[in-house]
């Protein structure tokens, strides 16, 4: 890759209050160019009301072949879910 030309990941928020969603990536040399390129590439038809760009190298992900080990512990903790608890009929607003 040419020096200075970086890949940036693009996140778009469609409406106020909604989470930002990953849309794809763009190339750019600096922050301003990244956000302008993201606008021109991903929001030509009113797809967003807010944009984030993040240098792709800043994103850290769990290696997929280790994903099982990472996420499994949450599966045996069923008491984290509301359906684990017995509440007698007649108790309301709980």
């Amino acid at each position: 890759m040419e020096s200075g030309d970086k890949v940036w990941e693009v996140f778009i928020q469609k409406k106020s209050g909604l989470p930002f969603k990953h849309a794809g990536s763009v190339h750019a040399y600096d922050k301003k160019m990244a956000i302008q390129n993201a606008r021109d590439s991903y929001t030509r038809r009113g797809e967003g009301r807010a944009l984030w760009v993040v240098p792709a190298e800043a994103i850290i992900s769990v290696p997929l072949d280790e994903a099982d080990a990472y996420f499994n512990p949450s599966e045996d903790k069923i008491y984290r879910h509301p359906t684990f608890y017995d509440i007698p009929d007649g108790v309301e607003n709980l």
């Binding site: 890759m1 890949v7 040399y29 600096d30 922050k31 956000i35 021109d40 590439s41 038809r45």
Partner: protein, 309 residues
Amino acid sequence: MDKYQAAFDAIIEKDDRVEPRDWMPDDYRNNLIRQISQHAHSEVIGMQPEGNWLLRAPSLRSKQVLLAKIQDEGGHGLYLYSVAETLGVSREEMIDQLHEGKAKYSSIFNYPALNWADIGAIGWLVDGAAIVNQVSLQRTSYGPYSRGMIRICKEESFHQRQGYEIMLHMAKGTPEQKEMAQDALNRFWFPSLMMFGPHDADSAHSSKAMQWKIKRESNDTLRQKFIDKTVPQAEFLGLTVPDPNCKWNEETGHYDHSPFDWDEFWAVVNGNGPCNKERLDHHKKAHNDNAWVREAAVAYAKKTESTLV
């Protein structure tokens, strides 16, 4: 079979999507890089025949529309380069391969756009053929490619309509205009059909790509879909498809067609089309002439590193 191969096979079998960090066979990865980079280059090179008509568009409306369409094509090229980059190849490498003649783009863009009717025929037939192919690729097994195709199909639906609208105006215009429309159809018909690639029996990359669900329908199936959709549209225009054998076949439930001139197809693929050299030279020139922009951008980025936005 090792567990990685088994996991990959299961994804394909279940019609799930392969994601960038998943293990995949080298051949699958290379097949995708070849196909997606070819697709990206086609979008970008495809801007040239249309760009040629921007300053000669017959009205402000048609100029505005054509500009928006060309901008979309550039954007689609960028989406596709991004998709290919998730497979471990850089955009710069892909562009080098294009310049060195190692990577191809769709042969259709090696034909010139001689007049305004050609702009209509390109939108109607070339984008029409591309859309049939891309709709099918929305279900491709590689996740980022599939998502890119969904986005591209959504954006491209206006491209074919603007082309058909031009054809409609000309076909219903003066006798000279109608003649131009017919002439454009005559020249673009067979090249558009050959955009789907060689017949299934002769297609080097097809069978593996079908097994891996990179491609979901064969070249001949997609081509036939396009013919069946398009012939009635030509009839509505009062124009004739330039193939005396193109008739509705009750038995097959499809339109027949004459054999294609594959010698011409391969001649164009192998660099001997009317505009191959021009297209590539133009791309190289634009890339090299604008090197200073990239240099300026590096300098500017250094200067503004610490600013907030």
